[in-house]
Structure formats: structure tokens, C-alpha cells
């Protein structure tokens, strides 16, 4: 499953974002986009390995109930 996730993600990056290499963006912009991409990778990998991340709906429910 993890292999599939990684494979699809890299395929997506190559298909859709190859032009990012050609067009120059500022360093700050690149760092933000890389961070966004990495964090989503981490989330997906933690899902595949069944790491427990607090479920958002439960947290919100607790906040609203208070």
C-alpha cells in the first residue's frame, strides 16, 4: 500500500509539476510549497502505518461541546 502511495504521488509530481523546474520561483515560495507537499506525504504515510493522529471531527466536537 505504501509503495502504491509513494509511486502515485511521484507520478503526480512528475506529470503535473515538471514545469516548476523550468520556471523560476522565489526561494520562500518554493520552501512553502515543499513544506505543504511534505506534510501531506507525512500524513498519508502515517495513515498507511496506522499512526494515531487525533481525528479532527472529534477535536472540533469537544471544542463545540465545551
Amino acid at each position: 500500500m505504501l509503495f502504491l502511495v509513494v509511486l502515485v504521488m511521484f507520478a503526480l509530481i512528475i506529470i503535473f509539476d515538471y514545469n516548476k523546474i523550468k520556471i523560476k520561483q522565489s526561494k520562500k515560495q518554493n520552501i512553502i510549497y515543499i513544506l505543504l507537499t511534505l506534510s501531506s506525504f507525512l500524513l498519508l504515510i502515517s495513515y498507511v502505518f496506522n499512526f494515531k493522529i487525533p481525528i479532527i471531527s472529534h477535536v472540533l466536537r469537544k471544542i463545540i461541546n465545551k
Binding site: 516548476k20 501531506s40 500524513l43 495513515y47 472540533l60
Partner: protein
Amino acid sequence: MNKQLLTEKQIIVLIILFLFGSSVVIGIDINSEIGQDAWISLILSFVFNIPLVLIFGYIINKFPQKNIYQIIDILFGKLTAKILISLFLIHILYLGSIVLRNFSEYVEITTLSETPLLPIMMSLILISVYLSKSKIKTLGIFGNIVLAILLVTISITLILSFSIFKFDNIKPILNHSINSIFKSSFKVFMLPFSELIVMLGIADLFDFKNPSKTYLKGIIFTGIILDLILIRNITVIGIPLLKDSFFASYQATRILQLGEFLTRVEGLITINFVLAGIVKITIFIISLSKGVAYLTKNKDYTKTIFPVSLLMLGICPFLFDNVVDLFDFAPIFGIYAIPIQVILPIIIFLFCILKKEKKLIYLD
């Protein structure tokens, strides 16, 4: 007419598909609470939506071809604008993830029961990313085709269900208290109708003369279609069965058939939901990527499409435990959504009026 902008007709089509996409969720919520009076509640929720839509129209009219991020920046100054835009972006990222999860759950439950959620979510996001990366006109044309398919399938299911309509199922009318009907319609108004604010994020791609009229046309047409669908569901399978089903339309069309020639009509409903869902997720992605591009001062929003779509996908599995949790959470999310989906547009509207009184010119 600018060829890179959406025409009035295309905007109406996108509004219809955007709202229709969420009917997967609303079907269950109103049926579970007020039974056969659900169709009245649906009409009321559209009435609630009219003032909000007029506010959206007013804002777009004041700032033609500007999106909500640019408008907030013009009205509130840099620091406040950044905070407001960030809050708005977090909200629509979360909302978009919920929508993606809804459709993935729907596909998993009705069609691909042996497939894990992740590949389904990936496939949906893949198509949406491709659509978002294409020019906005592509989305407009895709929307036209999807609406045509949608109308044909709805007509087929309505015609096929005529013979098994039981109008006794919608009686007694107004059996529930006005209070509970209003309460239910407010929930439907919050999710999905006030979600239309997401479309303000791509308002710079709109080309229309009378925004309020366009929005009104869109919601009235959607209201008629959704009410017809709801009445069909109630009259075909009745309230007790509807209460037990997560996806009412799918359940209602399962029993439809034309002799032994045409059976399994429910497949058409799945096609409807998935196609409308793709359009809806694409609108979320474009709106979100425009916001992130605006915050990071990138003029080309297509560069941010991929990171934001991935993040949407990453959040998706952690939203709910299962589909029951999803439907339990929907009404609670309505409360959480009020500040962004209702209060924020009202504040923007008030600021527009105040600034107008001060005779400030905000357009170049």
C-alpha cells in the same frame, strides 16, 4: 467577452453542480429529523440562502473580476487581510477534505466495497487536479456536459418511478412543529448552501453583468431539482427506509426497473454524484490554490494546485472514523462554519457600504 473567463451560463451550471454535489449529505440529515416535511425544509433553506446570495452578488458587483482574497486585501489592510485570508483558507481546506471524503465513502459503500479508501480518494483528486490545471474554460465546458448527463439521468429516474409513487408517503403535510422544520432548514442552509462562499475565491474568473441575478438563477434551478429528487425519494421508498439509508437517492433508485430490459438504474445515480463531486472538488482546489498563491505572492495559481490538493488528500483519512461518524458530524460542522460562511461575507458587505459612504475609490 474574454475567452479565459467563465460566461454567465457556465457560472450558473457550476453553481448548480456545486450545490448538487452535496445532496449526498443533505438527503439523510433532513429525512432523519422531520420525515415527510423534509421538502418544505429544503424550500425554506433556499429562502434563507437568498439574502446571502444577494450579498455575494453585491460584493462581486462592487469589485468586478476580483476574488475574495483581493477584496479582503483592499478592504481590511495588509495584516488583518492576511489573518482573515488564512482563516478562510484553513476553513475551505477542511471543507474540501470533507467533500472529498464524502464522495470517497459514497463510492466505497455503493460500488467499490473491497477497495480501500485511499486509492478512491487519490483517483478523485487526480481528476480534479487535472481539471484545475487545465484552463478555467475547460471546467466550464466539462460542467455543461456533466449537467446535461445529470438532467437526463434525473429525468429517466423520475419517469421510471412514476408508476410506483405513493403520495401517501408525504402525508400528513406539516405534521412536525414549525420550530423543528426551521431548525432542519437552517442545518441544510449551513451545509451545503452557504458553502457557495467558496465560489467567491474564483470570482476573478467570472464574466457577468448581473452577479445577483446569476446566483439567484443558479440556486432556484438547484432548488427545483433537489426538491424533485427529495419528493421522489420520499414517495418511492417512504420515510422509515430513508431514515435507515445513508444515501437516499441511491436507495430510492435501486428498486426502479423497466421490465427486464432496464435494471440497475442506481448506477446512473453513482455517475451523477461522482461527476458533480469532481466539479465541486475542482472548485475547492482552484479557490484554495488561488488563496495560497495570493498569500505567497505568486501570480500563477496553477503552481500551488498540486501542494494544496495533496494536503487536502492528506487530511482526508483523519477526518472521521467511519461513515456513521461522518453523518453525525455534519450538523456540528454547520455551527463551526457560521463565522466564515455567514459572518465573513456580512462583514465584507458592511465594509463595502461603509467605504462607499466615505467615498473611497477601491478600483483602479
